[in-house]
Symmetry: C2
Amino acid sequence: MKLQLSDIDDLARGAAILGTGGGGDPYLGGLMLRQALLDGGTVELIDVEELRDDAFALPFAMMGAPTVIVEKLPNGSESIAALRAMEAHVGKKVEAILCAEIGGINALLPLVLGARLGLPIVDGDGMGRAFPQLQMVTYHIFGVSASPMTMADEHSNTVLLQAKEAIEVERIGRSVVVAMGGMAQVCLYPMTGADAKRSMVRGTLSLALGLGRAIHVARKSSTDPFEALLRFLEGTEYYKHCRILFEGKMADLLRETRGGYAFGRARIDGMGPYAGRRMDVQFQNEHLIAQEGGDVRAIVPDLIAVLDSATAEPITTEGLKYGQRVRVLGISAAPIMRSSQALAVFGPQAFGLTQPFTPVEVLNPVEASTAPAVEEKS
Amino acid sequence: MKLQLSDIDDLARGAAILGTGGGGDPYLGGLMLRQALLDGGTVELIDVEELRDDAFALPFAMMGAPTVIVEKLPNGSESIAALRAMEAHVGKKVEAILCAEIGGINALLPLVLGARLGLPIVDGDGMGRAFPQLQMVTYHIFGVSASPMTMADEHSNTVLLQAKEAIEVERIGRSVVVAMGGMAQVCLYPMTGADAKRSMVRGTLSLALGLGRAIHVARKSSTDPFEALLRFLEGTEYYKHCRILFEGKMADLLRETRGGYAFGRARIDGMGPYAGRRMDVQFQNEHLIAQEGGDVRAIVPDLIAVLDSATAEPITTEGLKYGQRVRVLGISAAPIMRSSQALAVFGPQAFGLTQPFTPVEVLNPVEASTAPAVEEKS
């Protein structure tokens, strides 16, 4: 499938929702992708089954604090420098590019790279959402080595990092990200087609595109975009448990960029059916936990998305502002992301949270949340 | 020339003096070198003229804060991992190892590596002293590229860094050093034999050995080690301007390890002929400036060494302690280190000092300092 210019906004919107607050503002990635297509590039999405088992497939991502990307745009040379450094080291040409995460700008930048170099993009990613650390991917869970990893900055300075443990790649790489100005473009988890087949969360680029399009179509036909969004997600394999957890006004926001991450917490005061209630959402690049008082309403690795309450446009953590009217959604992560092996790597404890993982559908039985809130709006 | 077991202490002592307070405690390097020789290794020092013009010569050094080395010893695998990573990248076998700096432990670790791998060491280095940053070498002044640089930690995690500017290699590499626990073993400025011939400060390993031996011999024959030291240096091409600047007691010491460096300042209260006077010595890994009140007595890149006032044993900045009786020496840097090109890279301004470089022999006309102080002691 070839991506069209008219698909970009929908893909960016869907990716921002699956980015669960992080992954970087996809608006910028959308602009870069538009330019790449206007320059004559082609984005060809292929199914992972189309890869030869011995094909050289390479995930690509931006690494750093989403708050930095807003002010420091990639110039396009970084990604190519990172990929070429990997090719030089491995001694093989890359045959297909993979997404590391489907969330935010990282759903779009691999497509820009593919369009610039004429390489196909495999439909899928390594988490079906976004995460702040590079060991937090299914590629790692399924035993693909994170290193060699190549990194590049805007001067085409490159770093090639090799370590036995993914966590070491993350730790040393993060310090390089800081030295590179809070943002670097990286190629990591170099793998074969066979590796990709056994370790990918499949089809998530199409899913993000479909999700963004469902909202778009609802807006055009003046129907409730939240209803369209919930209906679309309920029809998917991964995200079928989705709930509107809360609706209210952004009342307080604490945010700091530290050690290459955007940390923070948002307080939302309830409105409409939620008047008199309060929700707190905590994030490290991505939303980690949504709570009402002591009650957990959704927790990582399930997805927590904050959307404009009128348009269903997703809001990334760096876009959160006092006074915004928002709805908070809880969405089930792909089953592959909820295994005990997976939870050991990116469950609540990996982020220093003490609350255990509980599926969003267990925390929020359907009759209590989704139905009334949607009716209220439509 | 083959280095003998009995040479090690002398070489370490001479290197510590030329290390001008930094370069890391050579005691540890001496122990490692002794073990390498006892294990059957050979240290073969060769003259740079013995290198073929197209030989692959590779400088090796430890990068980090000298204060860290004291508590975190290299296990020996780091240096080999860094060298092998460079060989893999360049696609050539290393034929000779160079020292980056002659100061402190960095005069000895390349010899350990050479002994372990059976590679000769070229007699010389890239500065004739020690410096805290990796662009501060004659290799850089003479246009050899600092990158690719390879770095390794104690887990054999490796980083290969490529940047156009040496200062970028330093900046990004320094952040990796911090992530690697404050210390990394690095190979950098990969060069040809021809490069080495035009850019090295020649013969400094022999000079350090001779300097350490002169002190050793004086002690054994119960003559004044300072007189022997001054006489030896006066006979050298580089270090012939040497002065005893001050004698006194360590009265105050401020030290902090920050950003991969050991920063600090020492106050020495005068004794003997210097009673009633006070000297302040400021350092960033190495001593940068020695002052009495507002008067500069010696300034970087000239060498400032602090020695035990009885034995002439050099004291590194991390070995400075309240109450020590010390003599402070000012020694001329090699002429190659005092050119305007060189001063732009490692003159006083490079360290944030406002005082201009003035040669130690201009600041201290010979009759005013050396002679009386030595006579006092003997």
